[in-house]
Symmetry: C2
Subunit: 299 residues, 2 copies
């Protein structure tokens, strides 16, 4: 089955201590869609301006991403610029130009409305909800978020949480949402807000899933060097949903392995700027790292 | 086989946002020895003053810890006092009274000198080296350390590293020692300083082992509440060495499971102040959590 992915489609200018990379393909939906595309067909919902480079449309197409839901509007593509410190856990935003994203309303082509797997990648929770409003009984809906929405759109996010199967956020966002320092105490509170599956991302420390069958501690693939962590979280949840959409059997049976596939896909993302590394990998390379993670955690 | 453990034996006064606990049994060697005692006989090397409560000597004895190497000297027992913030990753030292520890020279009783497994728990690296000087061909020597020694005794520590089989430190100490933010980049540098096995502790994020058979990613046992993390790292390495000393087969064959046993023992330590929880557990309870960790990480 295919995955419907809605989120931001952007141009990212990323500065690190080692280099500067202007106007890379970025945005939560771009990262998630490319990651998911290794596992299942993807339907993309987003908006770009008429300045959006053709090569990036071609990149989407090379990954067989359905672009019927990608609006191309007069104006500028959402442009984000950020700078990482030597310790890549710290970054600051230099510039945010919303462009056509400012007035974006995600509208689903009729062919999208019956999708079973829906990933509401990081955009405002009211837009995420608007996508759900247009869907016919999806089987599995997962949303990601960011600190910004916890700050400026918490009521919308809380409403959305009741409509989700799974909710993905990082540890600092979980703390912000629940006031709990302890990840497992935070998870318990987040379940009470609605989602049956709660996934906490912890960057290089891996991630934690809590669901009806208990907790799964998911390792990060060990990397000796991180080039650019931008989009790693989006790649993680994209890989996860792509894997789930095509795996046979129940969600519960497959979701741990889906986390591992997401984790591995995110590891490739970190090894290049923007999507430059992710777009050059193969499913066989992903499988090799999954097997390796199995060896790295067995005892 | 038994484990020889040298380190600090202290009284800890621990303040948390929820309570105050004066003069608990503490010190790196106390925590490590009690942890190891669940798996193997322990020979303790340390020093206490004549104010050291009898009940703590009885506690050691209940755990069948050999006290032939514990010096009882006129004067005061090492007393440390610290305060934790709401986020237990942050603590500050309120007071350090070295007492008899100030002039401590670890002297091994003859019966200790042929020990095969040696844990140099956290004390100054020159004292750790002095213990090694008295040993006859130990089979497996592991040392722990702390930021203080990196600051004031780095040359001694670097000399010691060349004499170790395994070195255990936490992620911020690994960063301090190597200037590497990335754990795996740090590990590579630490191997070059001598130890064949490098273990990085990451608190609630688990730990990482690097050895001749590659990397092992070791999870922390999930706890919803941490009462007092003091001594968790010492319990970890104590449990690890205790398990290794009695497991059949090679170090390489057993060390991953030993990490898991250490991790579980440390989880109990966090659930009570000082050693109050650890001293009340059984090997069966430890085994149950080990089995649980197996389920929590399988995919």
């Amino acid at each position: 089955m295919s995955v419907l992915i809605v989120g931001s489609t952007a141009l990212d200018s990323i500065k690190t201590p080692k280099s500067e990379n202007p106007r890379l393909l970025g945005g939560s939906a771009s990262h998630a869609a490319v990651a998911a595309s290794f596992f299942s067909p993807v339907k993309l919902v987003g908006v770009v301006g008429d300045d959006f480079p053709k090569k990036y449309l071609q990149l989407y197409r090379r990954h067989k991403i359905d672009l019927a839901g990608l609006q191309i509007r007069a104006g500028k593509t959402f442009h984000w610029s950020g700078e990482y410190e030597v310790n890549m856990n710290h970054r600051r935003t230099l510039l945010t130009e919303l462009g056509v994203f400012e007035t974006f309303t995600p509208t689903l082509p009729p062919a999208y409305q019956a999708s079973s797997f829906v990933l509401l990648a990081n955009i405002g929770p009211s837009l995420q909800a608007h996508v759900l409003d247009q869907m016919r009984r999806p089987k599995f809906v997962v949303a990601d978020t960011m600190d910004l929405w916890l700050n400026i759109a918490l009521p919308d996010l809380l409403k959305l949480l009741k409509r989700l199967d799974g909710f993905v956020l990082n540890d600092s966002e979980a703390h912000q949402l629940t006031k709990e320092d302890n990840v497992f105490a935070a998870i318990r509170k987040i379940h009470k807000l609605g989602p049956k599956y709660v996934i906490i991302k912890k960057g290089s420390h891996g991630s934690v899933l809590s669901g009806p069958h208990g907790v799964f501690i998911c390792p990060a693939y060990p990397l000796r060097e991180v080039m650019d962590p931008t989009g790693a979280g989006d790649s993680f949840v994209g890989g996860l949903m792509g894997y789930l959409a095509t795996a046979r059997g129940s969600i519960d049976r497959n979701i741990r392995r889906a986390m591992i596939y997401g984790s591995v896909t995110a590891s490739f993302c970190c090894e290049g700027f923007g999507l430059t590394r992710t777009t050059r990998i193969t499913r066989a390379q992903i499988n090799r790292r999954v097997n390796e993670l199995e060896r790295l955690t067995r005892f």
